[in-house]
Structures are given as structure tokens and as C-alpha cells.
Symmetry: D2
Subunit: 331 residues, 4 copies
């Protein structure tokens, strides 16, 4: 399923080199003001800005509202937003059809969908669809803002370097792509999530692994907790609001937010489309062959992830806030 | 929701010191032979065996089949299995009611459920409910066995030590609890999972964070991928079956299993119930106070996790295999 | 799936002649007082009382709470209730195994579940499971009571007779079973339900057809509306509360409750287990043969339906009230 | 939720006088050939043809594929189809804003969505959205065709008359709208549906009540069964395929299709927008007032229902066929 959520239900669709990509949001409260302007900053952030290492692909990427808005406000009916695909140069990608690109979905998509998949530029598997997630995030973050909840994601390191310029330079020097780590924080009220299957961590990680290139997630102290003693890791509760002295838990205990800051990190693999020559299967010969990815690509896809991570996190929190009746059905 | 799955739908229930805990499984194929004996090994494994650091709590923990079986085979109707709670000493826990235990769900449960929660021994939040997950795992692994799929989880390290005895001894010496890392591997056929929201990683991590004490998950190379170059991380496809030379992806690309081994690791925090004296809020006084957790507890809860991790993984794979029509509705 | 509901999620399980039948309710608000006594009246009503035409099968049918209650109140965790099967005489049913009983599920169950179904007394398909629905209804009606919503179902006619005694006598005279019509009414607040797929009628009818023997449902004027003119059928709105002069709509317009009384009727077929000798396939010979149903049965199953109809209606309304945030997560 | 289905998941969106209406289908098997031509007949049928009593509103209503197709075949990725709204004359409807139209959703929509609803022409509640259902039906019927399953709906009576011309003439003479009855039949394989909550009747009726103006549904003998004796109503099984001598059950027993013909009927109310002058609340004055509906409307909306009924029925059957693994994930 390409959908997520119980109350705030999000479905994404589209292909990289088809006519468009888009999103359908069902269950958004009525009365939320929404205009194209609300989307511009985050859509620009997703492009990775003017930083080194991001792709020069330029698209207007303006959201086109197809349903669910009236007089610039949400109506309570399903919202459909479409982003047209312009400036696509399929030619570049057609050449690759001989090769299932390593660490891309080409091979599995072909196998799973019997060869009927739209393979151009990764088709439905393309990172292009993250613009739909960003659009969801704009709406979700605006809903959360009314509750004074802010979600913010930042890059912690690139290629192991906390100095991001330095990390990028490593990739540029190596003429190769490189990975990174992104952290997300949000001030979340107590009581979101449930024990076991719908724990806040379960829902957040479910949504986070919808972002292409994510290889891991850790909450609070995360993997470091595996090397700690109990007394060291336990967060002493210090007042009747549930404030804790430390926040090794990252704001979630027993699957439920405890009112302290939500903190988690994700690992982003190096962009699969490295400029380097690679080996992989040649579908025509059935033999291993060398090839090079053509076209426009990012050296470090992690640079574009923060706004997407904010988006899926805000999406989950919005759904949980609606479930807990902390966001009203009519704003 | 305390349920998971689209076809193979699992719901768990019960409280640590209530009458029982149990599980309802809807959508299990008909015709699977199932007896109490099938459960014994995994139930024993969950107890952590006779290893140092595991709790001495002894329970028969035999599954009681309430529905869905006939002539020792599944019928296709919902399966309900109950485990009675015996040998519970609520007295130990009643004393703790004055203190919301750090890193336990006491505080959030009280807040979320308005004080109506069954707080004895953690109630519905207790690790006791993992016996229900283990029961699901027994059934799921048996279904997968028919497809020659095996799921196996093992402890990789305790307290940062690959020599597990050494790790445990650290905890014993420190008179404190300690964390660990558990790895899961499975030979999974190609084609399970979907792009974006129902990626195999999304579903697995969703299920995995239902296990108490999990603080992180990483697939394949995981967090280390964030420090790698593309050429290093990409897995070259070397034959028409999709076999890859390396397996940094951990068997999943584009959200879909690629036929290589599924590999992922989880971080387990130190047992929240450390033997050490701790500080936390005293609910009676509203002030921070010191207290000690009484009762039976594990120094390293990670020791009990592998069988639970196998269980939730097998649960997810079974659901995906049914969705992909690789497991028949009648065995 | 044997489950229903988005917030107030209900799953039933069990077999007529297995050990027990039961229900799991996930999402019930915390703090609702609940004792065995709350169930007695409705469980008795389900037995059809001492009226002519109901089966003499006597069971204590007391609900056994397995989870989700603490100090006689709901905790917010999943509630599991079990009803033990006593006094079952499988012998009667074993004889029937040669014949798939007409209008029973014997044939389809055998076909669908590959012969692994528990066929004794209809197994999982048995009307016995309606006691689980009744239990759900007790809880749902109690929740609705706090909102001053009452749900009441009554028999309108038996065998075409509004004088119910007369209708039953027809069946007794004919030594055959007979059908009936049951009506349900509830004072429902405005705003429940959604356009199209989750219309209030969609959800109610979905739940209603979970009741065995239901052959049709109609809202408000129902089938008679097909013969009316628009002016006759339209309900004039006469005040700012949305009160309508007539109620041909049965309280639902555009899929959404309009604040007028919810009114709908269902058709119940004659009990499939008629005392009459019948023809049907003999599984042993592969030929049509005559046989008679043995055992205890109702002449008019409609007599037992009102309390079950109230139950599923209350279940739907509770879910919708929670979705619309009109019932709090903690009572 | 504006969505339906577990495997073949359908979500509709749009407003009568917004930019467009559309549908998103997730889970459609890959490899199904699909072109605009496939849709033309059913889209034309939905317009009610050139029969008396249907609205003269002319729209091209050509489906615009936004995603999920490649080389004129489905790809397995979500399919999005949009129908642009042309030729809308909002002016007609603006005038009605003073009056919540009787038997329309105007009042409930205003109340539920806090006045933010798009009220023009009924907005999201408009029958206009049934063109989306028709589009789903085209795809579902094509998938079913590969399994030799045909779904066909026909009008049985209009205004109580089996001679449809005569029924329509009654409405024309009365200068009023009128209701009707539509029947649906399909040859369905054994084994679709499940006992209780996901009975075939539950799922079909759920989907059917998504069609505006439906007031009732009955399967097989339906409401007449309530007046029958058991021996009369029971369908004798006459061969090992489960063929029954009669088909009072309408092809479903115990919630599961039995291999005999699926037969059910629905009641359609008279078009709410009658040409007659009506009374209703005047929102400006708070008093009851008279008004007349302007604009283009059908005297008998039932005339347009058959193709929509086929569509939702085929949608349900497709989902069930996929669930039962009778339709492959790749065609």
C-alpha cells in the first residue's frame, strides 16, 4: 500500500518521468488556510538549495490543488495535490535499461511487477515522490503549529564529518557519492502512541523507512544504549509533569510520548547513483558488466532529507494528535 | 491499536498481573498442524534459559488454545491463545505505586489512561506480553518453514562485549542492568514489500518497535552506511537471480526484498528495572525521591529478545508472503 | 477479517462446539465501570426469553473477563471476554456431517477451508458467536448512554404478521421455521458518517450483515422510497437544528446523520434448521438425499435478533462517536 | 474515509464544481491493458443515455491518467485518474446557498465541516463523484473478465412500474422526480467473503451505500424471506459443486459466495432535486420558506445507477478475488 495513517490518511502516487506525481490526503481537518505560498519554502529546501553536491535539476514544482480546497481553506474532503513533471529527459534513463542499477529498485521492480513497471528514472520508486511527502509535511506542520508543536530536522554529519562542508568535499574529491546522518526533534505533548504494535516508535519508523535511502533509525540514545548500564540510561522523572533529568529515551517510553523532547536520528546511505563506473548485471548478456550512471544526481542525498524527514514525522504526529483528540476535526 | 497485519492479523491483550495474557490471530491459513509441543522450545528460549542475568521467575507458560484449532490443525477461523498468569506476587509491585519507575511506562500510562490503567507489574505494558508475540512467532515460523524460509536471531554483543559472558559479568560486577545488540537473519524470497509506506523496512521496524526496550534498528550496513562512499556501499548484481556480490542493503532495495539474505540489527536498552537505587518522582510528595525496584528482574533483557525478534519478523514475513500469494490460504 | 471498527475495534472468535467463543475489543475508552451484572439482561434477551419458538438450550453464558479490566473499570487496554461452551451435544451434529445443511455454511466452509473447518454445530459460523456481539453491545450501549444515546430494536413482524403470537403460531402449525422483520431506532447526534465509502449506512449495513440470517436492510422509508415522488419523499428542514418535518431518510442524508431519529429495518430469513424433512446433497453418495436436522433449534431466529441488532448498531455508533471526538478516550 | 478495499484499494476525491473529480487505485495488478477507449461505454451509460428523464448536462468526461500506466498497461503502482469539471454553471447553485436543500447533504455538510465545505453543486457530496466509481468499475470489470466473471445491473422498476417508460411518464406527468429499483447479478466463484464482519453481503452493502440515493439493499429473496417458511426458503444443494435447486440466498451463505449466481437489489429514492416547489429552512431568516431547485437535474436518478452499481460490485469482487488469491498480482 502506498498509504499511511488512520485518521490523517495519506496516499502518494506518480512516477519520475510520467506526467506527474501527487498525493491524496483524507481526513485533514476542515478550515485550515492553505495556499501555494505555504509550500514554497519546503519545496525549495527539498531541492537541497545551492549547496555543493545537490543536483542542478530545476523544476518549478508548484503544487496544483485538485480537490479539497475552497476559498483557500481545507474543506474536510480529501485533498489532492499534483506536481507536474517537467524538464524530464527520459533519454538519459532509457540507456540504463540494459542494466539494473545497483542499490536502485530496478531489479526488484522488474521482478515484482513482471516487467510492466515504468522504469524511466526509477518510475514510482523515484526520490521524485518525496516532493509529495514534503507537501503532506507542509499541511501537517501547519496543523501542528496550531498546537504549538514544531518539528525540525537537521543534518548531523556527512561522510562521518560533523563539518558538513568537509564531508561533502570528501565526496567531491573522491568523485563518489556519500552518506550522512539526519536528526529530528519535536516538542511533543504527552500521551501519543500506544503500547506494542502502535508505539510511537513503530509509527515513526514505519513512516521514516518510506524515505528512500534510509538504512537505520534510533531514538534518544539509540544504539549507544546497548552499551550502557541501567542507572546511566534511566531518565529520572523530576516533576509532576513528567519532566526527566536526562532524555536518553528520546521522549518515548512504553511506546508513548512522555512530554519530553522527541529526538531520533536516521542513517542515509550514499546516493546509489554514484558518478563512478560500477559493475552490475547486463540484462542483455546475463553477464556482469561495467556501466556508468548518466544524468543529474546528488553526491549526498542526505542534504535533501531533512525537510522530508520533518514531513513524515509531522504526518505521524498529526495522525496521533487526531487519534488522541488533541487536534479537532474542524480547525 | 494492539494489532498488526493486513492478511495475517495479530492482536495481543492482557496484563502482567491480571488473569492472563493472550493473542488473537485472524487470517492464518487453514490446515496447519499445531500442538502445545510446537511452542515449548520458543517459550523456554524466551525465559532466557539458565544463563546468568535472567530472571528466576518460573511459569509453566503453556499455551491454552481457545479457538481456531480442530483436530490439532488450524481451521482458518481466528486463533485465540491464552497464557495464564500464575505465581504473580502483586505485593512487590504495589509498593512501587508511589513511584513512577524511570524508563518504565508507569508515568505515561497513568497520564494517558486517566489513572485507570492496571499498574501492577507494568500491566498491559509489561514484557510479559512478549510471550504472546512468541506464540505468534511459532505459528508464523511454521508457516514459513513450508516455504523453506528460516528466521534466526542472535545476540551480537552485551554491554559492548562480543563475548557475552564478559558483558554479563560487567553488569553483575556493577550490580546494574546492561543493554545489548541482537541481529536477525532470514532467507527471504524476492518481491516482498512495496515502495514507500509499506516498504519491507517500514513493516519490519513497525513490528520490531513493538518489542519493549528496542531503541534502534538498522538494515544491512545500517548506520555505518552513513560514512561510506557510493561505490563502496552499492551491491553489484552478479546474476539473473539478482544475487549481489555484497549485501550492504541487508536484502532490501526500494522497500522490496531482493532475494539476498535479510539482515538487520536492533539495539536493546539496559533493563529499566536495575537493582541500583534510583531517583524519581514520588507521586505522594510531588518531590524527587530515591527508591529501589523490588522483585524479580533481568540484568540484561537482551538475552530474552532473540526469540521475540524472530517472532515479530516471522509475523511480518508471513503477512507479506500471504499478500504476495506465496503462502496459500489453505496449507 | 473477523474484526470491525477504526477506533473501537472489535474482533470475535470461537466455535459453537469448541471450548469457547469470545471477543477482543481494542480502543474502548478507559474508566468505564463494567461488571458481569451489566451483561445479564442482554444475554438473557438473546436467548429469546420464554417465548414460543425459541430454543430450550440453557447456558449460563456468563462473560469471563480475560483482560482490559481493573477494579471493575476498563483500563484503555484491549478487553477480552470469553464465554465458555457448556452443555454442547456434539453427537447430534456429527450425524449431519454426511449432509451439508441447506442454507447453512456447511458447504461453503468445507470448500473454502479445505475441509479443515470445525464443522460441529456450524463451528465458527454458528449463531453462537452472536453472544460475543451482544457483549460488545453491552459495552457500546453503556458508552453511548453517557452521551444520552439510546439504541432500541424491536420485532415488527413475524411471518408477515404484526401480531407476533399469530406469526409464531403459523410456524408451529406448519411445523416449519419462519422469518421476520426487526427495526432499530436510535437518537443519534448530527455529524456521524462520511460521504461515500464510510457513509453511516455503509458502516451500519456492513455490521448488520455480520448477523447471521439477515437478507436485507432498508433505511427510513427504504424500498418504499423507490415508488415515491420526490416531493413526497423529501424531508423538509423546519428549524436551524436540522429537524425535519418527516423522516423518510431515517436520520441519514449524504451518508451523515442529520440529528433526526435513526431508523432502519432488517429482514431475517426463516431459521435454516427447519424441523421439516429436507432434500440436499449426501456427501457420501454424491446424490441428493433427504434428511432431517436434529438438535435444538429456533422456529423463528428473528426473536433473538433485536438485542444483537442493537449491539452491532451501538458498536458502529460508538466507533463513529469516537472518530468525531464526541466520546472521550477516557470516560 | 473516502477509501475502500484491503488489496484493491480505492479512494475518490473531488467536488462537483471544483476543478476536477478523480480516483486513486492502489493494489491493481500489473499488466492490465488500459486505454481511454475502455471507459467510453460506461461513462456514456452513466449519463443515462438519451432516455427520458435524464439530465441534458453534456460533458466529455474523458479519463485523464495521471499515474500508474505505462505503455497502456497498468504498472502495479497506484493509478490516478482525473475527470475535469467543465461546463459548470456555479451561478445556479449559488442562489441555493440560502436554503439547505431537503434530502441533500447541504445541511449536514455545513454542520459537520464547520461551514468550510465546498457547497457548490453539492461539492464533494455530489453525484458527480460517481464518475470516479464508474472508472473503478471499468478496471475491476476488466480484471474480472479475465476470470470469466461478468457483473450486470439492470433497472427492475421505476415508480413501481416494471414498464419503465410508464414509470417515467408518471414522473413527467406529475412534474416530480421518482424512485426505482435496480438489480445486480454476477456469476461469482465459490469462496469469496468471510463469516461475520467481512461477509460478502457486508462488503457489498458497504460499497453499495456509497452510491448516493440508495435506501435499501436485499440479497436473493430479500425482504420477502421474512414472510417465508424454512422449507420454502432453504436452497437444496443438488450436486457436489454446490449448485442449489433454488437461489433464495442470492448466491451467499454464511457470508461466503456459494458458486450460484450473486443476486441483489437496491432501492433508489426519487431524485432529491425535484422540479416541484418545496419547503425548507431559509438559513437567512431561520424560518421555513418555499423555494425551487434550479439547474439541470434528473427526474429519475435510478436510470443512471446500473453502471455505478456494477462498478462498486466489481470493485468488491476484485478485492475479494485478490484476497482469495484468485486474481494474480501480475495479470
Amino acid at each position: 500500500m502506498n498509504s499511511f495513517g488512520r485518521i490523517f490518511k495519506v496516499a502518494i502516487f506518480g512516477e519520475s518521468h510520467g506526467e506527474s506525481v501527487g498525493v491524496n490526503i483524507d481526513g485533514c481537518p476542515a478550515g485550515l488556510p492553505l495556499t501555494v505560498e505555504d509550500f514554497l519554502v519546503d519545496i525549495e529546501r527539498r531541492k537541497g538549495g545551492t549547496q555543493k553536491g545537490t543536483t542542478p535539476r530545476k523544476e518549478d514544482d508548484l503544487p496544483i490543488f485538485k480537490s479539497g480546497l475552497f476559498n483557500n481553506k481545507t474543506t474536510g474532503a480529501p485533498i489532492t495535490i499534483i506536481f507536474e513533471n517537467k524538464n524530464t529527459r527520459s533519454g538519459d534513463y532509457e540507456k540504463l535499461r540494459d542494466f539494473p542499477r545497483p542499490s536502485h529498485a530496478d531489479f526488484v521492480a522488474h521482478d515484482k511487477f513482471g516487467g510492466y513497471e515504468d522504469y524511466r528514472g526509477g518510475g514510482h520508486f523515484s526520490g521524485r515522490l518525496t516532493v509529495c511527502l514534503v507537501a503532506v509535511g507542509v499541511i501537517a506542520k501547519k496543523l501542528l503549529q496550531y498546537q504549538n508543536i514544531a518539528v525540525a530536522a537537521n543534518i548531523l554529519e556527512i561522510g562521518g564529518e560533523k563539518d558538513l562542508e568537509k564531508g561533502l568535499q570528501k565526496a567531491i574529491d573522491a568523485k563518489d557519492s556519500i552518506g550522512g546522518i539526519v536528526e529530528c526533534r519535536a516538542n511533543v505533548p504527552k500521551g501519543l502512541g500506544e503500547p506494542f504494535f502502535d508505539s510511537a516508535e513503530s509509527l515513526i519508523s514505519h513512516a521514516v523507512f518510506a524515505i528512500p535511502a534510509v538504512r537505520g533509525i534510533e531514538f534518544g540514545t539509540g544504539f549507544a544504549a546497548a552499551r550502557m548500564f541501567g542507572l546511566e540510561h534511566n531518565d529520572a522523572i523530576i516533576d509532576t509533569n513528567g519532566t526527566t533529568r536526562t532524555n536518553h529515551a528520546g521522549g518515548i517510553v512504553g511506546g508513548i510520548s512522555n512530554g519530553n523532547e522527541l529526538v531520533f536520528r536516521i542513517a542515509i546511505k550514499p546516493t546509489a547513483s554514484t558518478p563512478k563506473e560500477q559493475e552490475t548485471l547486463n540484462w542483455n548478456t546475463g553477464e556482469v558488466d561495467t556501466f556508468s550512471v548518466k544524468g543529474r544526481h546528488d553526491l549526498c542525498i542526505a542534504l535533501r532529507v531533512p525537510v522530508v524527514l520533518e514531513a513524515v514525522t509531522a504526518m505521524v504526529l498529526t495522525d496521533l494528535m487526531l487519534l488522541e483528540q488533541r487536534i479537532k476535526r474542524v480547525v
